[in-house]
């Protein structure tokens, strides 16, 4: 027979292990659900299927591609190999200009069409999404 103290200690260790594994499970589970993948237009072309998850796309805003009306903003994101059309409703950041980098979050309709729910602003005028940078360097 073990003493009461030893039993208690075992109980506590057991409890802590359960709590630990539970919280690890919880974190990993919701990580899986809430991850947003980042894709460049070229990567989107190579996708085999289009799922309904939220993704981010990044690239440069193509010159002379911005179209705007009261509700919507339309523009083209390019990595100089492939383009993708983006439609967006919402607040537009100031650093969003033609010929500059952009990251948009939203849903893919098909390989050529993206419905954005958010445009992320960068604070630095020299910032460029890494994919775009490497694409530019290859050119």
């Amino acid at each position: 027979m073990y003493g009461r103290k030893v039993k208690l200690r075992f109980f506590f260790i057991f409890l802590i292990l359960i709590i630990l594994s539970l919280s690890v499970f919880l974190i990993l589970k919701s990580l899986e659900e809430n991850v947003v993948y980042f894709k460049s237009p070229t990567e989107i072309q190579t996708l085999t299927e289009i799922n309904k998850n939220k993704i981010r796309i990044g690239g440069m805003v193509k010159e002379n591609s911005i179209l705007i009306d009261e509700k919507k903003l339309k523009f083209i994101v390019t990595d100089f190999k492939n383009d993708i059309n983006v439609t967006y409703t919402g607040a537009i950041p100031n650093l969003f200009t033609e010929g500059k980098g952009v990251v948009a979050e939203g849903y893919l309709k098909d390989k050529k069409f993206f419905l954005a729910t958010k445009i992320l602003a960068k604070h630095d005028e020299n910032y460029m999404p890494p994919e775009v940078k490497s694409a530019l360097e290859e050119k």
Partner: protein
């Protein structure tokens, strides 16, 4: 000229550090009292660093473009205030500021801890010097703020306009005082661990350093948050962006440490835990610097940067972690004879329980922040973890956290009982009823929000009751906890009641939405010192038919040529009205965002209340009896 002085005094500072180490090692073995020379050299080390810092400030003020840092981050037409703040608005200058604070704190530590044992002081100094020398080398080797360029340019490249803002001008120094303040805790915890001096006395002595860094860290985060609110034009104050998260992580750790130090001071238990927390806090601060500076984070706050620097900080970080682990596992002997018997109903138990919650929050933030980096390294898949992840994992656990916070303060140290605790149940019922009333009238249905609101109200009432009841026995704790409940309440109400209208408008157009009418009347131009302002005039008729004029602004800066938008915010006690206007390139349309944000000001006020609670405890000899 100033650059030359700056550079050489930086070298002199490094030389002083080497002298400090040399004399410290001699003094450590031979003498009974602290050698005066150590104190003098520590002072000179600080003196040289501050000279070098002032040299950089002068270079910025006189726009000396032969200095590369000045050339990259300044411009002659910039207002003087932003010329000065530009000093730490860039990588090189902000590292120099790190060094200023590092050397200042160790000097203050030495003169403020006269009553401490000599060897403890010397060891703390030695550990601190390791950090200081690391930063000296880092600064001189990879990011020298005094590099020359030739031929001398006639004009600089200018400071990123969104950094030209009063809140962000003082945000880095305040935040760094918090970050770097934790270095003293780190060094003294390592020294204490080596000498087996982690005890009640140590806790009493280090407590004020913990509180001071905690206050600065809290204020620093607050300033950044306020800035993000009005400058970035999103109308939010926290985005769970990696760069924000890295400042939250040391805060969580430091807050936990703050509470554990009290337990250690009171009961002489949790020694190892306190050492671990002290080490972790500083490591997280370093990690923050590394992650922000290396550019491996995919953040909206990312500024262009250089991977070589990241590598250096990473190596340095590993050396420090290795050193601390070595000391913790091989030298530190937990000589504590006190058995850690905790009675289930006592103040220290509830502190300990909330400790674990804090560690859980820390784990969530940490994983959410660095998981994308790991995934990118392993699978080269680029991902980001959005706010839902953090909200989902943190909000439910805030409920028990708040309840323990409320109950814990009502319990005694060592052993408490449930006598005369009926009011707790009473207050809980009142909170529940109040919540139900609010939620019912709103017709929103969020289970966790409801329960969280109840828990926050519970803490709110308990702390308010204490103000009347407790004869101000632990006023500082009471104020801080009250502030925290107010913070949670304001954030919740802010979340529930916020509304926004986003639209693209041409001048003269009007939009109707949710009984709110926004009329874009006109725009005006104004020339300012280093930007051109386009000021919009918006006539807003709210749901009660009241008219209000708001004037958001667009600023077109001359150098760098960037457009920023200045929100116009009308603040009163209950709600903020917030409007931003953005120009869309080559189009007649302006992008308008109008938001009604209730209780916004209370979020800032409650954080200031929390800080005030902390400040108050500095002026008290004993935390409580």
């Amino acid at each position: 000229m100033a650059s030359l002085i700056g550079f050489y005094s930086l070298f002199s500072g490094l030389l002083c550090s080497i002298f400090v180490i040399y004399f410290s090692i001699i003094n450590f073995r031979n003498s009974k009292i602290l050698d005066k020379k150590i104190l003098i050299f520590t002072f000179f080390q600080f003196f040289f660093v501050i000279i070098s810092f002032f040299a950089l400030i002068i270079s910025f003020v006189i726009s000396d473009f032969s200095n590369e840092t000045v050339f990259n981050h300044s411009h002659t037409t910039k207002p003087l205030f932003y010329k000065i703040s530009g000093v730490w608005g860039n990588h090189e200058g902000s590292l120099l500021l790190w060094l200023v604070v590092l050397t200042l704190f160790i000097y203050l530590f030495l003169i403020k801890s006269k009553e401490q044992k000599k060897n403890y002081k010397i060891l703390t100094l030695l550990f601190q010097e390791i950090i200081i020398i690391g930063f000296f080398i880092f600064l001189i080797k990879t990011s020298n703020p005094f590099n020359y360029i030739f031929p001398i340019p006639t004009e600089g490249l200018g400071l990123n306009p969104i950094l030209q803002d009063p809140a962000l001008a003082i945000h880095p120094p305040v935040l760094y005082l918090g970050y770097v303040g934790s270095s003293i805790i780190f060094s003294s915890a390592l020294a204490g661990a080596t000498l087996n001096y982690i005890s009640k006395d140590w806790a009493r002595h280090i407590k004020k350093w913990v509180i001071i860094s905690w206050i600065f860290l809290t204020l620093g985060i607050l300033l950044g948050s306020i800035w993000a609110y009005y400058e970035l034009g999103w109308g939010g104050f926290w985005f769970w962006d990696p760069v924000e998260n890295v400042s939250l992580m040391p805060w969580l750790c430091l807050t936990t440490l703050l509470h554990c130090i009290l337990v250690l001071e009171k009961k002489n238990i949790l020694t190892s835990w306190v050492v671990v927390l002290s080490i972790t806090t500083f490591m997280l601060s370093m990690c923050g610097t590394f992650l922000v500076r290396s550019g491996i984070l995919n953040s909206v706050h990312t500024f262009a940067n250089d991977p070589e620097r990241g590598l250096f900080i990473l190596i340095f970080l590993f050396i420090l972690i290795f050193l601390s682990l070595f000391i913790f596992f091989f030298i530190f002997k937990n000589s504590n004879k006190n058995p850690t018997n905790l009675f289930w109903l006592s103040k220290e138990t509830s502190i300990l329980i909330n400790n674990w919650f804090m560690m859980y929050f820390l784990a969530v933030v940490l994983i959410g922040t660095i998981y994308p980096i790991f995934l990118e390294v392993i699978t080269s898949e680029k991902i980001s973890v959005g706010p839902p992840f953090f909200q989902k994992l943190i909000i439910p656990f805030l409920i028990p956290f708040l309840i323990f916070m409320a109950i814990g303060s009502q319990l005694k140290w060592v052993k408490s009982d449930l006598k005369n605790k009926l009011y707790l149940v009473l207050f809980f019922i009142i909170s529940l009823i109040l919540t139900l009333l609010i939620i019912k009238n709103l017709k929103i249905n969020f289970l966790t929000n409801t329960v969280l609101l109840t828990a926050a109200f519970f803490l709110f009432f308990i702390t308010v009751r204490d103000f009347f009841k407790k004869e101000f026995k632990n006023l500082s704790q009471n104020i801080a906890h009250f502030g925290f409940s107010l913070l949670i309440l304001s954030i919740l109400f802010n979340n529930i009641f916020s509304t926004e209208i986003i639209s693209n408008l041409k001048i003269g157009e009007t939009i109707n939405s949710n009984k709110i009418q926004i009329n874009f009347e006109s725009i005006n131009q104004k020339e300012k010192q280093n930007y051109k302002a386009i000021i919009g005039k918006f006539n807003i008729k709210d749901q009660y038919g009241k008219n209000q004029i708001l004037n958001p602004e667009l600023r077109i800066y001359n150098q760098p040529n960037i457009v920023t938008s200045e929100a116009d915010i009308k603040t009163n006690l209950f709600t903020d009205k917030f409007i931003t206007m953005n120009l869309v390139q080559n189009q007649d349309y302006f992008n308008i965002r109008y938001q009604i944000k209730p209780f916004m000001i209370w979020i800032w006020v409650s954080v200031i209340i929390i800080c005030f609670g902390g400040t108050l405890s500095l002026f008290k000899r004993n935390y409580e009896n």
